[in-house]
């Protein structure tokens, strides 16, 4: 039987107000997904929600990852070049153009402009703009004529177009080599002291956090996890809950002026309604009018939220440096 039917049946029998409510230690019923507020450009999704491919685009069409696809931008819509020619162009570019423009075309030590955003390069359809500049140079600038034969110039142009086709939405650059960045820069001893003073009333290194850094091996994910209190689970806020990560369930006790108090998982709260999920899987909604009914909310993340306003970046890095030692 569906939970909804159980509730309807209970209500029909007049049992609704006599249901005994246990404290919910079980996994709560899934809260009805709140459709995200669609914002202007920019901004991460709320924690716990996966990062949409493009946060505010109602129906994003995928960018053609290598050109020739049904991308939304001209550089992605151009027919894809011959991979062998592109590969040859990459090598030629690195040798002939890289010293000034950078091997990745993002500009180089000698001051050559970033070709990923160059108006000329972006507007070029089939070499009609790029070829004359590569062939003849630009008098009065450091752009000198090249001795490359025409097929090589064509390969260089194919490489540049291929790079452009990989520019993402919102101007995200083409993927480059993955750079390993160490985010653990804090002082573990200072972090342990901070933990003792601010976190130890709820958490313990030998208790709930034992083996934390084994369960969450990536330091960045660990930092996101502990700062958010478990809501930001992975890159971008979404992802899978690491094994053993605490479940955080906000509960509430609703006490009407007349009638029994009801306790459950808080599913909805606005100025007009409050809805609880009850242990039997049903939901119960109360109309709000000023202070009636009284609502007492227990949010286990209250402490984490309060911490956001006082945690310095140095504190944060120190605590992370300490927590990564809890293998």
């Amino acid at each position: 039987m569906r939970p909804g039917s159980a509730w309807v049946a209970a209500a029909a029998l007049g049992m609704a107000f006599s249901v005994t409510v246990r404290a919910t230690s079980e996994a709560p019923p899934q809260a009805p997904a709140q459709p995200p507020v669609i914002e202007g450009h920019g901004g991460p999704p709320p924690p716990g929600q996966p990062t949409p491919a493009s946060p505010q685009t109602p129906a994003p069409r995928p960018a053609g990852p290598g050109g020739g696809g049904p991308g939304r931008f001209p550089a992605q819509q151009r027919p894809k070049g011959d991979p062998e020619v592109i590969q040859r162009g990459r090598g030629l570019f690195a040798g002939a153009c890289g010293p000034c423009h950078g091997a990745d075309a993002r500009g180089g030590q000698l001051g050559g402009p970033n070709l990923l955003r160059s108006e000329l390069a972006l507007n070029d359809k089939d070499g009609e703009l790029l070829y004359p500049v590569i062939k003849n140079g630009r008098p009065g600038t450091a752009m000198v004529p090249t001795a490359l034969p025409d097929p090589d110039i064509a390969a260089v142009i194919a490489f540049v177009h291929d790079l452009h086709s990989k520019i993402g939405g919102q101007g995200n650059p083409p993927p480059g080599d993955e750079v390993e960045l160490d985010i653990v820069v804090g002082n573990a001893r200072a972090g342990e002291a901070y933990f003792g003073a601010n976190c130890a009333s709820c958490h313990s290194a030998s208790g709930d956090l034992k083996g934390l850094a084994t369960r969450v091996a990536q330091p960045k994910a660990l930092q996101n996890l502990w700062v958010s209190g478990g809501r930001a689970l992975a890159r971008g806020g979404g992802g899978v809950r690491p094994v053993g990560a605490p479940r955080t369930v906000t509960t509430a006790t609703v006490s009407p002026a007349s009638g029994e108090s009801v306790k459950g998982t808080l599913l909805r709260l606005d100025d007009f309604m409050v809805t609880l999920a009850l242990p039997d899987g049903s939901q119960r909604t109360f109309r709000r009018a000023g202070d009636n009914p009284k609502i007492e909310i227990v949010d286990p993340l209250e402490g984490h939220r309060a911490l956001l306003g006082k945690l310095t970046d140095a504190n944060m890095h120190d605590v992370t440096a300490y927590l990564v030692t809890l293998k």
């Binding site: 991460p44 955003r117 995200n172 958010s228």
Partner: protein, 571 residues
Amino acid sequence: MRTPSLVLTLSLLAMPIGLAGQGPAPTTAPAPSLDPSRLTQPLAEDWPTYSGDYTGKRYSALTQVDRTTVKQLSLAWTARLSAGNGAGGGGRFRFGGAPVIVGGSGPADLPAVPANVKGTPLMINGVLYVTSPDNAWALDARDGRELWHYFWRTKGSTPIANRGVGIWKDYLFFVTPDNFFVSLDAKTGKERWNKEHADFDQQYFSTMAPIVVDNHVIVGTGNDIDSPGYIQSFDPETGEIQWRFYTVPMKEGDPGLDTWPNLQSAKYGGGHPWLPGVYDPETRLYIFGTGNPIPAYTAGRGEGDNLYTCSLVAVHVDTGKMAWAFQTSPHDMHDWDSAQTPILFEGTIDGKPRKLVSTAARNGYFFTVDRVTGEHLVTTRYGMATNWAKTIDKKGSVRRNPIKDPTVPGALTSPTSGGTINWEPPAYSPDTKLFYVTERNGYAIYYLTDPDPRGSMGLGGKEEVAVGSAGNFLTAIDPTTGKVVWRRPYPSAGGGFGGGGGGGLLTTAGKLVFAGDAGGNFVAYDAESGAPLWHSRIGNVSNAAVTYELDGRQHILVASGDMLYAFALYE
């Protein structure tokens, strides 16, 4: 048991279809004949431009719906908008729909983006003009019936939103995501002409509602890649360009060039004027906000102020020449544009009556400036949790604390890159003398992922993880002091993660403020106290409500995605 209920459902469904199909589908709207001088009048029966009038107040003089009568506010009609070229349009009453007029040069097989109304409908002489990216509709403002539907076949681009149309006499103007500036005959929806106003190859995309001032139609650019922002003025008859104003230096000798490492950096520096500005007929100044510098989050644009990004800028509407500029946040590092529509109002500061302009910026700070001279008067923080600033300098600009820039080990910063406010328009009431704005207090850890000293491009080079919030509010500010007078929380079960204020605000002489809360309710708040007085749960509100009066009846019109809801007092 199943069969009878199915029959009942079908017969219920058939009723409205039958009613809507009784007459021939209309193909024309009454002539709007909006004389541009009408736009300088106080806002009442009509809603003839993006913000209602030129001041940006979104304040209507209508009083039929007030703090007492609002309890009787009831649904007058709904309409569902169907984007694209399918099924002859007509929304939910398909058989009564108007033919779709198709323009644009894009491929025929690109599916339409679903309708999502995130702009301001205009209402003139009984007709509503509503948009969604690539689509414009004329609807009967009395019952939402479709009069015509124009669909633009796009070449591509980023269809995040369309903020609405502009109207000059009988001509209607709007922009498409692939950067066409399109003029339609407002009566029939037939295309008059289209002009490419920004370069699609450079990944510009367009969202702004055109603003009509006399014989000028003003349109601004949007783009997240590294191209320069600008506004242009067009001739409403011919679509010829009258002038173009770049928000960043484009050549040697341009003002502000010394705030960039070089011309190359400035020319690719962003500063897009995403949203409509306001206009002061006395000085003939068009005043608007500019976007953030690009690359948004990384190195690559020196240590200078990056003028005129994140600024309030005033240009002469006849020449496009800059009269003054005030920078809200030099060298922004978080994609916090200051493109929000500002508000013009009169106020007294230090005992002296002043002509003022205020803006509540995405970065969590509030600013008031003399709108004639550009003299700075007020800077305050309205984002309760905002923590990125080091100082307010002598000019009133807010200078960043570089440790709150995206860093490799992460910086815990408020607001999120979505901002304390984003595009959603604020409102001002001359009755309460309060400036109303949505205030969001999210925190994010900003990680620098591209430490290359050349910088990244666009919005690249960072990873942002939202980690919590100190709450979202409907916030009332005294704009002459910048002090927050009250905050009305948008409660949510998510423990401070909720939304609220999506779409923006409307205020009226009935001493009400209309907004969407975090629970999917469209709410009327008391403009003096912020107490909620009436609500209807229509889903997430996606635009700022507008109000208009027809046949002596005040309507409040608001959108939730592809649905329009018109409310009026129950009769």
